[in-house]
């Protein structure tokens, strides 16, 4: 029994199908709990007031915006090396979710930045690299949409994802060089002395778990949709033949 057996579309559908509603439900519950806890049960920050609470949307979405691309990279590699269709379709399904997460992170950041930094937008390295990441998502999705042949599209987008990853990382460090930032450094690491206080940290962890599950749910649903769409197309083609 190896993990690659799940690359079989039928096996994949049979295994993930029954779990899917549970993942969705758990994501919803965690999201409600985390956001309610974060918004109403934590104290206001002594300097930032209640604006600090946007962190419960901002951090998880930013976290996923990056990791969705990473997941697409891994899925693209699996497709290029082992040619499992489910993998390519999962990468395809993850792109719009990742792009949406990027937008959420940018928008919530802007809403928080207006009262705190006094500006909606600043050409700060982190903000800029997120904008560039968003452009990468757009290009990736546009390429998927532009090519008719499924396998060609999967191949081309996978290679674009690989090349894009290198350039995305390069851009990240290039903008670091280009402008000094307003954005704070990492304050959620496991091993650092100065972190966010536990009162904020625990509901934030719940929210991050909720977002991860939400991402999983959306990607799995998207993959299921793609597989069903392909089956439908295959059936229609077969009917036309006979």
């Amino acid at each position: 029994m190896s993990i690659w057996e799940y690359a079989n579309p039928k096996k994949f559908m049979d295994t993930t199908g029954p779990v899917l509603p549970w993942i969705g439900a758990l994501a919803a519950v965690l999201l409600v709990v985390g956001l309610f806890w974060g918004f109403f049960l934590t104290p206001d920050d002594y300097r930032q007031g209640s604006t600090v609470k946007i962190i419960y949307l901002h951090v998880p979405s930013a976290f996923l915006a990056i990791n969705a691309w990473f997941m697409m990279l891994v899925a693209s590699l699996i497709w290029l090396i082992r040619r499992h269709h489910v993998s390519a379709l999962a990468a395809k399904a993850a792109a719009p979710v990742g792009a949406t997460m990027t937008v959420i992170a940018l928008v919530t950041g802007a809403i928080w930045g207006q009262p705190m930094w006094g500006t909606w937008w600043e050409w700060d390295p982190r903000l800029t690299s997120f904008l560039v990441l968003f452009l990468f998502y757009l290009g990736y999705m546009a390429l998927w949409g532009a090519i008719e042949n499924d396998d060609t599209a999967a191949d081309l987008t996978s290679i674009l994802c690989l090349v894009g990853s290198v350039f995305a990382i390069l851009s990240r460090y290039a903008v670091n060089f280009w402008n000094q930032g307003l954005h704070q450094g990492a304050s959620l690491s496991m091993d650092k002395e100065e972190n966010v206080a536990d009162v904020f940290w625990v509901p934030l962890l719940v929210c991050m778990g909720a977002f991860v599950l939400l991402f999983l749910y959306l990607v799995l649903t998207g993959t299921h949709t793609e597989i069903r769409a392909r089956r439908t197309r295959a059936l229609l083609a077969r009917e036309r033949m006979s």
């Binding site: 560039v132 452009l135 990468f136 757009l138 290009g139 546009a142 390429l143 532009a146 090519i147 060609t152 191949d155 081309l156 290679i159 674009l160 690989l162 090349v163 894009g164 350039f167 995305a168 390069l170 851009s171 290039a174 903008v175 060089f177 280009w178």
Partner: protein
């Protein structure tokens, strides 16, 4: 490979090849900028390095879809792919031809246009250095984008969407070299970074471009 390079150069220079179009576009962009931001010479000399870099980048972008499109339409790309030369070499030659017909003229024309934008005198050398070091990367990255979109009808807009994010690091370091040069600051670090990007792109991206072309020709 040399024959291929000569062929591409001839095709580009002779009628209908679009040689000089990029250059004219570069000129127009640079001329339009003062109309947009006003003729104040202090402001112009401050934004000159960035404007010249963006103009060069857009001019480069304009001619990208010609790299493979014509060969794809008349089928010579299939012949090239079956030629005894590796496809990676063909792609490199295509990029080189693109650079010689688009990038190099831009580098040579940039000082003349810099006068129009009132670039400080000490910036001229660094402008040419940065464009000379950066435009090969633009050509190679653009060749990758052109190879990606070669099979798509009217893929020009998509090509820009795919290629422009890839241009970000090159643009940042290139414009930084030109800016620092114009302001008389030390330029060593961005120059080295820019050269590093160019060399890495020239060394690695042809493999990606060739892989993409093979998929498109399948």
């Amino acid at each position: 490979m040399k024959a291929l390079l000569l062929r591409d150069l001839k095709l580009a220079v002779r009628a209908g090849g679009g040689f000089g179009l990029g250059l004219a576009f570069f000129l127009i962009v640079v001329v339009l900028v003062p109309f947009g931001v006003g003729p104040e010479s202090g402001l112009l000399s401050r934004i000159a390095p960035g404007v010249l870099w963006i103009g060069a980048l857009l001019a480069c972008l304009l001619s990208l879809d010609r790299i493979f499109a014509l060969d794809w339409e008349d089928g010579s790309l299939d012949l090239l792919a079956t030629a005894p030369v590796p496809l990676e070499g063909i792609v490199t030659m295509k990029a080189l031809a693109h650079w010689l017909t688009t990038g190099l003229p831009l580098v040579l024309a940039a000082p003349a246009l810099a006068i129009l934008l009132n670039l400080p005198t000490e910036g001229f050398v660094w402008l040419v250095v940065s464009l000379g070091a950066g435009t090969p990367a633009l050509s190679v990255i653009g060749t990758f984008g052109a190879a990606l979109t070669v099979g798509i009808k009217r893929g020009g807009l998509l090509l820009s969407l795919l290629v422009l994010p890839l241009y970000v690091p090159t643009l940042i370091f290139g414009a930084e070299v030109a800016r620092r040069g114009a302001e008389g600051m030390a330029t060593q670090v961005p120059v080295l970074m820019l050269a590093g990007i160019t060399f890495a792109a020239v060394a690695l991206l042809p493999f990606a471009s060739a892989a993409v072309l093979r998929i498109n020709l399948r």
